[in-house]
């Protein structure tokens, strides 16, 4: 569908308090948000805990979005604590939604499962020298990637009985690695770093290696790359950076199916001039709306500008929410499911749930 500036509004549904330090990251459970499963997400914080939040089932949840109170009720269902001894930096649900991987500055990554209503730590992955900064499951849930301050990226294979075997330690970044993320369909891993680059890692006959580096010479970023996200089909990627820009990258269609199986990525366009402090988080919705959250306390939404094809593809600002939080925004994540919900996490210790609603067409979706 088409999106027009001014045709949408962002409604704050609820502000969730509970963390006692900055909230670094959040992750929606991908297996929730269906007719019989209420939405669930996890948030993690400098207070060393993870909180699990669940939407209250409501009798009128299928009705109009205007009665926002009908589904603006969220409860903290669990607090995962007393496991990590330092900041919990990021978390990621497995594709099945059964396991939650949690990365901490204490150098470990823990795996949690909901066992009979209680979350239990079923495994702990050790190996990084110091702070683990990000964790990601691949599309099938058979591989896990972690990265951190020691400049390395680790790939773990999920074994029966909650065992995780490290299958590769990838060196290549020259500075700490801020985030890892698997491609939504292929077993190709992406990492972004304080060294200003994004690296693409692929498996060549059980030998993981860097197949591409997207850096300044490839129209890449000129400062720390903090996060990345893929569009629904996985042929485009957006990255965000301390250089105050977002960059859109496109997969070269021919090489994706090439004999060596490596996808080759090229710079498509740069979204610049919007955020005026570090952009920490970016997330591409399944509908094609890019949300970004930054240290300027604002959330912005971008969509592809279909009118601007003369000069090549471009993206336009759909909406901005200044002062979305009282402090830096560290993470923005779209929910799964029907409703166009976005969660944002901030240094102010809160998580906010927003709904992006279309003005002219009522529900709009």
């Amino acid at each position: 569908m088409e999106f027009y500036e001014g045709a949408c509004e962002l409604k704050l549904l609820q502000t969730l308090e509970g963390h006692t330090d900055r909230v670094w990251s959040l992750a929606w459970n991908p297996a929730t948000g269906t007719a019989d499963t209420p939405l669930v997400f996890a948030s993690c914080s400098g207070d060393k805990t993870v909180r699990i939040w669940e939407q209250n089932p409501s009798p009128s949840s299928s009705s109009s979005s205007s009665s926002s109170s009908s589904y603006s009720s969220w409860n903290c269902k669990a607090v995962l604590e007393d496991t990590h001894t330092r900041t919990v930096r990021s978390c990621c649900w497995s594709p099945s939604g059964k396991s939650l991987a949690v990365a901490s500055f204490d150098a470990t990554t823990s795996i949690w499962e909901n066992v009979g209503g209680d979350f239990e730590c079923v495994s702990t992955l050790e190996g990084h020298e110091n702070e683990v900064k990000s964790v990601s499951w691949n599309a099938s849930g058979s591989l896990l990637a972690t990265c951190g301050r020691d400049k390395s990226v680790w790939i773990w294979e999920v074994q029966p009985g909650n065992e995780y075997e490290c299958v590769s330690v990838l060196q290549g970044h020259t500075q700490d690695v801020k985030m890892v993320m698997w491609h939504p369909t292929l077993d190709v891993l992406f990492s972004c770093s304080y060294d200003n680059t994004v690296k693409v890692w692929a498996d060549d006959d059980d030998d993981w290696q860097c197949v591409q580096t997207l850096g300044e010479p490839n129209n890449g970023h000129s400062s720390t790359v903090w996060a990345l996200s893929f569009n629904k089909t996985g042929d485009k990627m957006v990255t965000c950076s301390d250089d105050l820009t977002l960059k859109i990258w496109e997969m070269d269609g021919t090489s994706m199916q090439s004999a060596d199986g490596y996808a080759s990525w090229r710079h498509l366009c740069t979204i610049t001039g919007y955020h005026d402090r570090t952009i920490f988080s970016v997330h591409w919705s399944s509908e094609g709306i890019i949300a970004s959250g930054a240290a300027d306390d604002a959330i912005r939404f971008f969509v592809e500008d279909k009118d601007g094809l003369v000069d090549g593809p471009s993206y336009k600002l759909l909406l901005k929410e200044e002062k979305a939080h009282g402090m830096d925004i560290n993470s923005v994540q779209w929910s799964p499911g029907e409703k166009r919900l976005l969660a944002s996490a901030s240094d102010d210790g809160t998580v906010k749930i927003w709904e992006l609603a279309s003005l002219c067409t009522g529900n709009g979706y």
């Binding site: 500055f105 702070e131 304080y194 400062s223 301390d242 300027d296 402090m327 830096d328 240094d347």
Partner: protein, 217 residues
């Protein structure tokens, strides 16, 4: 030759130095430290000058980075204007002078002088925009390869974190041309994830607190 020590380097070094200092203070060195000279001056000297090992790695030179810094007179403390009865409930904007007062007495990590006395910080080097909730501090290390720059910057950041309202955005940088690794130092000091990790290291926090102690008097 590596010109820039990140927080990681500081962490390791501060741990060693603090262990040493604690031993000196307790006066009962553990066997592990018996080979250390039981000389406070010596150990202080190596504490204060610890980072030059970065520059002369392998040579174990242990001298102050800047052994004889120029000490300047402190600026006269101006009384802040006293609000009249009418203004009593008015919100007073944060200004340059107020921010300067927060940081002027921070102790240099290397010398028993304040950042003001060493002209590492001057009032003019502080930019404040209260409307935009923005502060930028530009500090000038005493020598251009000063490896104390990151710890000074960390002290400034922590002090302002504890002093300013949370709405404030703070940028900290070394003065252009004043440091050999200017961009690396600036990038490190403004990466909040690295700062957060550094501030979870008790030894580094102890070091920062030592430098901040005088500014609370």
């Amino acid at each position: 030759m590596k010109l820039f020590g990140g927080f990681g380097y500081l962490e390791k070094k501060s741990q060693r130095m603090l262990t040493k200092l604690k031993v000196e203070r307790n006066g009962t060195p553990t066997p592990r430290h018996e080979e250390e000279p039981p000389n406070l001056k010596q150990s202080l000297k190596s504490l204060l000058g610890f980072l030059e090992i970065l520059y002369f790695s392998g040579k174990m030179v242990s001298e102050l980075i800047n052994a004889n810094p120029i000490v300047y007179e402190k600026k006269e403390r101006r009384a802040r204007s006293v609000p009249t009865a009418v203004e009593e409930y008015a919100v007073e904007p944060i200004d340059q002078q107020e921010v300067f007062d927060h940081v002027r007495d921070i102790k240099d990590p290397e010398h028993p002088y304040s950042l003001e006395e060493l002209k590492v910080i001057t009032e003019d080097a502080i930019e404040v925009d209260d409307q935009q909730s923005y502060v930028r501090i530009t500090f000038t290390p005493t020598v251009e390869h000063c490896s104390m720059a990151t710890i000074i910057g960390l002290c400034l950041r922590v002090k302002l974190l504890r002093s300013l309202p949370s709405r404030y955005k703070v940028d900290i940088r070394v003065a252009p041309g004043s440091h050999a690794s200017e961009s690396a130092v600036n990038k490190q000091l403004n990466d909040k994830e690295r700062v957060a990790a550094a501030l979870e290291n008790p030894n580094l926090v102890d070091m920062v607190d030592e430098c901040l102690a005088p500014s609370y008097n």
